[in-house]
């Protein structure tokens, strides 16, 4: 079981390393989108500080979503996916491996970049840490939920935008609690409630999303 999981993760990471630029572009997209807001809203430091958490979180949502469209697409196009459906392991496990690799490639870098972006918006100390922690719990959920959408839209024309329609609504709870935790801690209120809710969401997603994606994959490949 665990060996199969490890094998999938390593395979996907190796593939990603072959085109390193793909990995970097997700991070740059994240940085650019975050940097766009101050330009649109104006340089008022107080305003920027208040919207910081929301903006970083929305940008993380968008970046994760965009990189998702390619989660299964390459495997689907070259027929590897069919083969993966036939290996003697639970398909959900395979999916979990792919999602884990996807998170390491596109979620983790966002988490690591976030303090820098927070600094640009004038966040400090605790708020920065809170931003990082919420993203650390939240981005795996984004990858897990997104995998369902990516599996459903596999092989469809214009899949890119379609996936955003399916997935973004699912992301909303994570967004509310994630950004909410940062805002609450900035306002001096405890964010424990938010964090434990997010933890619960993560566990739930971890338990259910792989099965749902596996089912969706079977439908799409048929």
């Amino acid at each position: 079981m665990l060996a199969a999981l490890r094998c999938m993760v390593i395979r996907d990471l190796t593939l990603a390393m072959r085109h390193r630029s793909d990995v970097l572009t997700t991070v740059f997209f994240f940085i650019i989108v975050v940097s766009l807001f101050p330009l649109g809203v104006g340089p008022d430091a107080q305003l920027l500080k208040e919207m910081a958490a929301g903006v970083v979180w929305v940008a993380a949502l968008l970046a994760s979503m965009l990189s998702l469209t390619r989660l299964f697409a390459d495997d689907f196009n070259d027929g590897t996916l069919e083969q993966l459906l036939l290996v003697p392991q639970p398909l959900a496990l395979i999916v979990l491996g792919k999602v884990l690799a996807h998170w390491i490639i596109s979620g983790l870098p966002l988490v690591l970049m976030s303090p820098l972006l927070g600094l640009q918006f004038g966040l400090e100390g605790d708020e920065l840490i809170m931003l990082m922690v919420t993203l650390l719990i939240g981005t795996p959920v984004l990858s897990l939920l997104g995998a369902i959408g990516a599996a459903l839209t596999l092989g469809l024309r214009g899949g890119g935008v379609l996936v955003s329609l399916l997935v973004l609504p699912l992301y909303i709870p994570v967004l509310i609690f994630g950004a909410g935790a940062v805002t609450a801690s900035a306002a001096g209120m405890g964010a424990d409630g938010h964090l434990s809710l997010m933890g619960a969401i993560l566990l739930l997603a971890l338990a259910l999303a792989p099965w749902a994606s596996a089912a969706a994959l079977r439908i799409s490949v048929e």
């Binding site: 104006g42 340089p43 920027l48």
Partner: protein, 249 residues
């Protein structure tokens, strides 16, 4: 300054570039040593900013170079587009990484200077923002170039991008005048041949020495890099074969 060699063929340019790179490298090392000595031991403490202003001697040259390199790069790209000279596009792509590096240094030192002076690492001021955009332009240039397999097509595509992006440079330069911002305006102006400045003379000299050091450094590194690029793209020509066989046997 590079225009001298515009029409030279790669075969004759390659050894010449080697010698020039060595010369500029040595010159830049000497200037850097002098410049650093001046910025820490000769230049006096600023009455307003204390010691912190010494960041200027690296910040300002880096910021200048970041813009200058982009313009030079765009010029080479334009030359490559117009005259189809192979060397021009190679020069353009050899400048990009150094330009990106200086842009990053300008941003980094600016941020480190901003904390003691303005009390914030970063403000969304026009100049700071446009410098950040310049970094993205450099990265876009390099990403596009590396995404295309065929080197000749890559050179032409990224050259076009450089030309389109060059409109951003005047925006950076004039942003301080167009929007009134936190960031300081030009303190050195060139008025009919003479240099006029609000800084003390010794600071201006230090700044100039450091600027020339960075400039020579850029030329040296770019020439060295273009030699690699020439070898890669001309690997099948007879002069490369002779050169390498001669070097190895």
């Amino acid at each position: 300054m590079f225009n001298l060699f515009k029409f030279a063929s790669p075969a004759t340019f390659y050894p010449l570039a080697g010698r020039l790179a060595m010369g500029f490298g040595i010159a830049s090392a000497i200037l850097l040593a002098i410049g650093l000595y001046m910025s820490f031991f000769v230049a006096p403490t600023d009455y307003k900013q204390g010691e912190g202003y010494r960041i200027m001697f690296i910040h300002v040259p880096a910021a200048w170079m970041s813009m200058l390199i982009y313009v030079v790069m765009a010029c080479w790209a334009a030359a490559g587009m117009i005259w189809h000279t192979r060397l021009s596009s190679m020069m353009a792509s050899s400048l990009a990484p150094t330009g990106a590096m200086f842009t990053f240094i300008a941003l980094w030192t600016g941020a480190l200077w901003g904390k003691p002076m303005w009390g914030a690492w970063w403000v969304w001021d026009a100049r700071l923002t446009s410098e950040l955009i310049l970094l993205f332009l450099y990265i876009g240039f390099m990403a596009l170039e590396s995404a295309i397999d065929d080197p000749r097509r890559a050179a032409r595509a990224s050259g076009l991008l450089a030309l389109v992006g060059v409109v951003n440079v005047p925006i950076i330069y004039y942003s301080v005048q167009w929007w009134n911002t936190l960031h300081q305006g030009s303190s050195i102006k060139i008025v009919d041949g003479g240099v006029e400045s609000s800084m003390s003379e010794i600071m201006v000299w230090t700044l100039l020495v450091m600027t020339f050091a960075c400039w020579f450094y850029t030329i040296a590194v770019a020439l060295c890099r273009v030699r690699s690029i020439i070898l890669e793209r001309e690997a099948n020509t007879s002069w490369v074969k002779e050169l390498l066989q001669g070097a190895k046997s």
